[in-house]
Amino acid sequence: MTAHRRAGPGLSRRRGSTPGLAIGTVLLLLTLPLRAVAQGTPQHDPPQPPGEQREYPSLRLVGFADVDFSGTSHREGPRGFSLGQLALHLTSELSPRVTFFGEISFTARTDAGTGDPTAAGFNTEVERLILRFDQSDRLKVSFGRYHTPINFWNTAFHHGQWLQTTIARPEMIQFGGRFLPVHFIGGLVEGSVPAGGWNLNYKGGVGNGRASVISRAGDAGDSNGNRAWLLNGFSKPDRVFGLEFGGSYYDDLVTLSSGSEFRERIVAGYAAWLKEDPELIFEYAGVRHREQGTDVVNWNHGYYIQAAYRLPQFKRLLKPYYRFEHIDIADGDAMFATVPELDMHTVGLRYDASLFAAIKGEYRTWTRGELVPRNHGGFFQVAFTF
């Protein structure tokens, strides 16, 4: 900008002079500010041999996106083609031990073009924003906005649809869902110890927990004076390479917009066999609510089991899969009064069209309680990373 502003008057003053002189002058004027900037840049680091050369900050960008198609017997969710989500993941090393991680998503809105002011076509969301200090493998401390580490799926696949075998997340941890708190704003301490080949990992965090709208996290501040806290531990034993199992505990006081308050406690556990022949994931979460000032306790349960197998034929490009998921909501739970129950079967096939793109097709059939008619539908997705 500075260069152009300086070039403008220079051009007008030299109108009528020889073109060569004018061009030379313009080039000189254009390069002057750049040279000034270059000379003004402090040279902190002496030249280093190639092997040691690291520049900070070092920003890297990776993206994920998906395009979907769905058709269901009873309308639920988008119909026909839909743009899934564009997720951009940013990583920047600020120093050898300090790293920034960010994730921004763009999601198509169903109410685009309506309302006053008119709703935009896409929602932009800061999904994750983390600044982490690495002391060692045993101790890493970070602050920011996370995907709550009380659920395996939530922290294994994030918004990368291409990373997960299936088209959709399990409903218990669906983005925008209410069964489990998907996001968490605060601080996290984490690390791992070899522990004789058990490779024990831990995470402990304190943060805002759910907002008054329970599908949201308290991005702009907590809804009450009580912070949420969580503990998570998991193991990846050397002797059974491919196995990962762990558990979590989460505690929060949730204040709804109505003013009623609930003590929320979540216990969760999972086991995953992450090799693809087969791939097995089982995950359970129990959510306990007690309304403040009462002795009424309600337990809500959710679990899913997923099995997949990468076929050795067809150049290992095909991966059939099946998932069953279940959500059971306690009748008298006022905090989950509008959270639907679920029994769902999913059968699908993933085809890896390239190293970084996959095509998935699914059939799902599900019910949301005894009085609700069974629904079923076909789903299709192209998911990729770039």
């Binding site: 041999p49 190639p50 092997g51 040691e52 070092s58 890297r60 990776v62 994920f64 993941h89 990583t91 920047s92 090393e93 050898p96 031990r97 790293t99 991680f101 994750r128 983390i130 982490r132 690495d134 002391q135 060692s136 493998d137 922290t155 294994a156 696949f157 994030h158 990368g160 990373l163 791992s192 070899p194 080949g197 490779n199 990846k236 050397d238 390479f241 491919g242 090799k275 693809e276 290992r316 890896d352 190293l355 990373t385």
Partner: protein, 165 residues
Amino acid sequence: MTITRRDFLRSAAPLAGVAGLLVSMPAAAFGQGPEIAVIVHPDVPVDNLTIAELRRILLGDREFWTSGMRVALYLRAPVARERDVAIKDVCQMTEAQFRQHWIAKVFRADTPSGPRIVYSGQMAVDQVSRTPGAITFVEASAVVKGVKVLKIEGKTPGQSGYRVR
């Protein structure tokens, strides 16, 4: 480590060809290629790794040496035999699974970056000799002074029972 296998072969030039042939013959007889040495920067305070520890480094689950120095993993570009040995034999993965693992690893915010790519054995050795905390896989015959050869499960390249080949 003071004398590498390559140093030995250089100093005993007349015997080098015979020694190399003897070392490579059993591997060739079993349909396996030459042994792959795991080399690190001389400052790395480790002399021996188990296969499981090596796998954790390759998969980014171990990011620091015991001294607190950050691990800098260098890997040959795809198709190189050193890379195949590291991914298929040590990690028990396909190339596609390994790449997806690292994309996911960075995406999960577990680690800031994936393995750094090198395009020749010589480039791998050069980078490791200059970069504190560096580790890579090279053919045992490519090892030169200025790097440290790690024992794997207590065995060095050339010893019976050495598993990285």
